[in-house]
Structures are given as C-alpha cells and as structure tokens.
C-alpha cells in the first residue's frame, strides 16, 4: 500500500476518533459532578501558620494572615491592668486541634480546626459575688473594720481596686473553657496565600465576647 494512502487512512481514523472522543468527553464533563480544587503546599503552609499563631495566642499575627489585611485593633495592649491580665490569660488559654490539612471544596480551599479557649463571660460571671466575699474576708480580718473606710464612710478606691484585681485573679485561676470549630477559607492573591475567617474565628480573635 502506498505511503500516502496509508497516511490518509491514519489521519482519517485519528480524526474520527478525536471527533467522537470530544463529543463523548463533552457530554461526560457536563454531567459529571464538580471536582474539588486540590490544595497546594503553599496553601497548607499558610493554614498551618495561621493555626500556629492562633495556638500561640499571637492574635495580632493571625490578623496579618487575613485576606485584605483588615485592621483588627489587636496591635496594642488593653487599656487597664485588669484588661491586660484577662487578655493574657485568654490568649494563653487558646489551644488549637486540627486533624487534617486544608481541603478543597468546589473552587475553594478550606481549613477546619477545633479551638478551645477561655469562655470569658462564664469565667467572669459571679465576679461581684467573689469581690463581696473578699471584702468580707478583709473586714473579718480587721479588729476595727470601720478603720478601713475613708472619711466619706465609703470603701477607699485603693482597697476597691485591690479587691477587684484579686477577684479577677481568683476567677482566672479556675477558668471556664469552650470549644468551637472554625473553618477559614484560603485565598491566593498575587502569589501569596491569605486566610478568610469565618464568624467563629472572628469571635475567637475578639475574645469570644458577645
């Protein structure tokens, strides 16, 4: 058989196969379920960095990984000594557990983790009662409790401050914790990966207060 005829035959067969293949592939693609995007190594590195910063309690560093670099107001210390004490205790209480790397769903990549942290509201509930108990103990320890009062017959501010601080310290010694699940999305922009937090993660960054 001549080479030219052989070549023609081959082209014809290949062309037919490609035509049929493209039609079949098109139908299959239209009816097939969405395939999830696969997370890259860089996405995993970003998500692990976020979780590590969260676990370390370095919340301002977590903010640096957030998409759009929002200003969260976490780059300063709390205004009062009690606030600083509480904030430090809260950050120390954050513990992150994650069983898996980030995963793809549709066109998005997510990371899920369990975060246990101090429930500030529950921990501080009854602070007034504890302060009252401390005041009573202080007064009971005095021979003349009235000597503790100021000229106006009220408890001096310095004593109040001490009692409040001690009540807070006692509450922080037995913190109540809560576990929440966070799921944040990972987004790539200009070659860099960022985290888009969910409401649960924002709650944790803000101290879990509501």
């Amino acid at each position: 058989m001549k080479v030219s005829k052989l070549a023609s035959a081959v082209f014809a067969v290949v062309g037919t196969v490609l035509l049929v293949g493209s039609i079949v592939t098109g139908f299959v693609a239209l009816n097939s379920p969405t395939r999830a995007v696969k997370p890259t190594q860089e996405a995993n590195v970003c998500s692990q960095s976020v979780l590590r910063a969260l676990d370390d309690g370095d919340l301002s560093k977590v903010g640096e990984y957030l998409y759009g670099k929002p200003s969260l107001g976490l780059d300063r210390e709390p205004a009062t000594t009690e606030g600083k004490q509480l904030w430090d205790a809260y950050r120390d209480s954050i513990a992150v557990t994650t069983g898996e790397n980030c995963y793809g769903e549709g066109t998005n990549i997510y990371q899920t983790a369990q975060v246990t942290h101090m429930d500030i509201a529950q921990t501080l509930s009854g602070l007034d009662r504890r302060a009252g108990e401390l005041l009573k103990e202080t007064l009971d320890a005095q021979e003349d409790p009235a000597a503790l009062l100021g000229e106006d017959g009220q408890i001096p501010e310095k004593l109040r401050q001490e009692l409040r601080t001690q009540a807070l310290r006692d509450a922080l010694a037995e913190p109540k914790t809560v576990t929440a699940q966070i799921t944040f999305q990972l987004i790539e922009q200009d070659g860099q990966w960022w985290a888009l937090p969910d409401q649960a993660m924002l709650d944790i960054l803000s101290g879990g207060l509501g």
């Binding site: 009692l163 409040r164 999305q185």
Partner: protein, 435 residues
C-alpha cells in the same frame, strides 16, 4: 442438366475464419511519473512523524482543558473582612465587668452580716409560663410593639440584655459583632415567651438569611398544613400561611404534598411513609429534633413505633441531615434536592433546648452564587448548632417575619406550597411589651 434458380445466390467466397475478440479499450497516454526528490520524501516523513503527534497532543490538551473548565464552576466573589476595633470592645467589656465586680463591694458588709444587697438577677420578676394548647389551629397574635429593627448588630445589645432571662444562659449565634450583609438590617421580636432575631450574612458570595429563635415552651414550635388539615390540595404562599396562624417567624416546610417521600407525621400520627433512602426529621413534644436515616423505618408501623417511643409531634420529610449531635454529616448522593448542584437552600437547626435557627441561602444583589448542600452544611456548622436538617429549597426556600418576606426567593417571588413550620408567642393577650 442441373436446375439453377434464377435468383440463386452466387457462391460467396468464404471469408477466412477470424477470431473475434473484444476491441481493446483505448489506452490513455499515461503521464510520465515525476520522480520524487529526496527532499520531498524527507519532508513528507517529517510531516507525518512530527505533525500528526503534535496535532493529536494539542487536541488532547484542548479536550482536557475543556473538561477542566466545564467541570469546575466559577470562583465566588470574596468579601474582605471589615476593619474592627476588637480591643476597644474588649476594654469596654472589661470596664463593665469591673464595674460589676465593684457592685459587690457594699458598705453594708461593715455590719459583718452575710446578707448582700440583691443583685439584678435576684430582682428579676417572676414570669408566668405560657403554653399554646395542642389543638389550637392558630397561635395567639403577636404584639406589634414587640417587633423592632436596628441597622447594626451593636444596637442589639440592649435587646440581648433584655432577652437574657429567656435565653436562660444559652449562647446565641447572633453576636453584637456579627458581620451582616451590608444592604440589610436586623429584625427582632421579644415578649414574655419568645425571642427572635433575624439578619443576613454573606458566605461564599451567597446571602444567608438567619432567624434565631428561643421559645419558652415546646408548643410554640409548630407546623401548619394548608387549610389546617393533612392532605389538602390547596396551596398558599408562606406569607399567607404565616399570617393565618399568627407566626412570629415562619419558614416554608417540606412541601409534603408535592412529592411522596419520607415519613409524614402530623399531630402524633403517621400519615404516609415512602422511599427507602429518605432521611426524616422528627420534632418531639419537648421541641427536640430526632432523625431516622435511609432504610431505618420503611413502614407505617415502624414509623409509628418510633413516634410513640419518642413522643413525636410532627415530622419533616426532605433532607438530607446536615448536622447530627454537632457532627457534620456528609453525603455524596441523596434522592431529592440536587445536592451536588448550586441551589437555593433552606434548613432547620436546633442550637439547644427550645433554641432554633431557620436559615436560607439565596442570590441577592451582587451576590449571585448559591451553594451545594456540602457548602451549605459547612456554613451551617459555623452556627455551633447541635442538629440541622435541610428543608425544601429552590423557590420554596422562604423565611417570613412579622408577615414580611425576609429573604429573596428564587426569581424574587414566593412559590405557593402546602405547609410551613413556625414559631409563635404563647402569651394569650398577644405578648407583653419588653421593648
């Protein structure tokens, strides 16, 4: 003498024998063959050996790209996190807590008595517990003055404070730092028996409408079928049915009349059981959600036994189950609801005892994505709910509060349907004003 006729033929000369053969066809003069040059031959080989594989490869690559593009939906628009002053809020909270601690430091301690001045909690008024009779077809009318709306989550703080007693220590998914959909506002209702707050958020470029409800009694979580009876063929809009029964918040149900699917239980009685793979949700008389999975209950008798065992009031037959005892439930397939495609979605969630969220996901404004069930479930779990179950989605997905449609249904219009679930006040006079 011989006879010779006149016209006898003269003897012909015998022609010599000739072998007759077919005439040969005329031969066309053949063109002289061009001698193929070496260069031409080489060129032909190169063309065949190189061009064919290259074309085949390029076509294959094009096909793969086509499959890739068709098989993957467009990425959703991403909304950046808003700027926040988290430590400012924290400082404010600490100041409030320290002021609260200060309130425990009373001069009355000087008397060395163990009595302390009563705290705000101790002076809470004793509140009556209201119940809606089981046979009541409609609930008491809500008090119009108990409804309200605010523009920002922070403005809900005094309302949440007033609702503290009805929340009974339970935490809400709604927080005062909630990130709401910027073109929306927050609605609420609070009286002596029910607290409801409704708002919208954006997730994965889809607008989610949440309505979080806490009731005092299980009788306030109710189901209404069209015309107040099982099997009616008439259909109504969700807003119409919500107004008929005096709902504070209502959601479209499972559209039980549209399809024969799952176990339908109403007023403690099993009415219909269809489909071996259906996952059904049941609400008991304490207001708690229960589930049966595909294949677990296949007959009316099986379902009724389950109903009797768990004191079930009514069921919802759509699904699938999204969350079961805080665990996300994954599905690769389900008989209804096109779970792997983007679709408007609706769900009922239980947060805690007598504490619920109804939620829908729709396209609204610039946000034109709608989730698969997997995406929907992922965002539902962020609420921290204990149980969650899909209701009929698509154009049926609707949430109504104060007889107003809150979410934007598919095509901007409600669809008439056969049933709703709703939450109502139990206060007979229509709610005491807590506003």
């Amino acid at each position: 003498m011989g006879y010779k006729p006149k016209y006898a033929a003269s003897p012909r000369k015998r022609e010599p024998d000739v072998i007759r053969t077919k005439p040969e066809p005329e031969k066309k003069p053949s063109r002289p063959k061009k001698a193929q040059s070496k260069a031409g031959r080489i060129f032909q080989i190169i063309l065949t050996v190189i061009l064919v594989p290259v074309c085949a490869f390029a076509t294959g690559k094009l096909l793969m790209d086509m499959v890739e593009t068709v098989g993957r939906p467009k990425a959703a628009v991403v909304v950046k996190t808003k700027d926040m002053a988290m430590l400012d809020d924290f400082d404010a909270y600490v100041e409030k807590s320290m002021a609260q601690a200060d309130s425990g430091l009373k001069v009355s301690h000087l008397g060395l008595t163990e009595q302390t001045e009563p705290t705000e909690e101790e002076t809470e008024p004793v509140r009556e517990h209201y119940t809606i009779p089981e046979d009541a077809l409609v609930a008491p009318k809500p008090n119009p003055s108990c409804y309200g709306q605010v523009d920002s989550p922070a403005e809900m703080e005094p309302i949440l404070k007033k609702a503290k007693w009805i929340l009974d220590g339970q935490k809400t998914y709604f927080q005062t730092n909630q990130q709401i959909y910027e073109d929306s506002f927050i609605r609420y209702y609070l009286d002596d028996s029910i607290f409801a707050v409704t708002w919208q958020e954006v997730h994965d470029d889809s607008v989610y409408t949440f309505s979080e409800i806490k009731v005092e009694d299980a009788s306030q979580f109710r189901r209404h079928l069209a015309d107040g009876q099982y099997g009616s063929d008439t259909q109504y809009l969700t807003t119409e049915m919500a107004e008929t029964v005096n709902a504070v918040v209502a959601s479209a149900g499972d559209f039980y009349r549209f399809r024969n699917f799952g176990a339908v239980v109403y007023q403690g009685e099993t009415r219909r059981v269809e489909g071996t793979y259906a996952e059904t949700c049941y609400i008991d008389r304490s207001g708690d959600m229960h589930f049966t999975r595909g294949g677990e209950v296949l007959t009316v008798q099986d379902v009724q036994a389950f109903v009797d065992e768990h004191d079930i009031n009514f069921s919802l037959a759509f699904g699938p189950i999204l969350v079961d005892n805080y665990e996300l439930v994954e599905h690769t397939w389900y008989g209804v609801g096109e779970i792997t495609e983007g679709y408007a979605r609706a769900a009922l969630c239980q947060m805690d005892s007598l504490h619920y969220i109804v939620v829908t996901a729709n396209t609204t404004g610039p946000h034109q994505s709608i989730p698969t069930v997997a995406q929907f479930a992922k965002n539902i779990t962020a609420t921290g709910c204990r149980m969650a179950y899909c209701l009929d989605g698509g154009q049926t997905a609707t949430i109504v509060m104060n007889n107003d449609l809150v979410n934007r249904p598919v095509n901007g219009q409600q669809r008439k349907m056969s049933d709703i679930i709703y939450f109502a006040t139990a206060v007979p006079e229509g709610g005491t004003d807590n506003g």
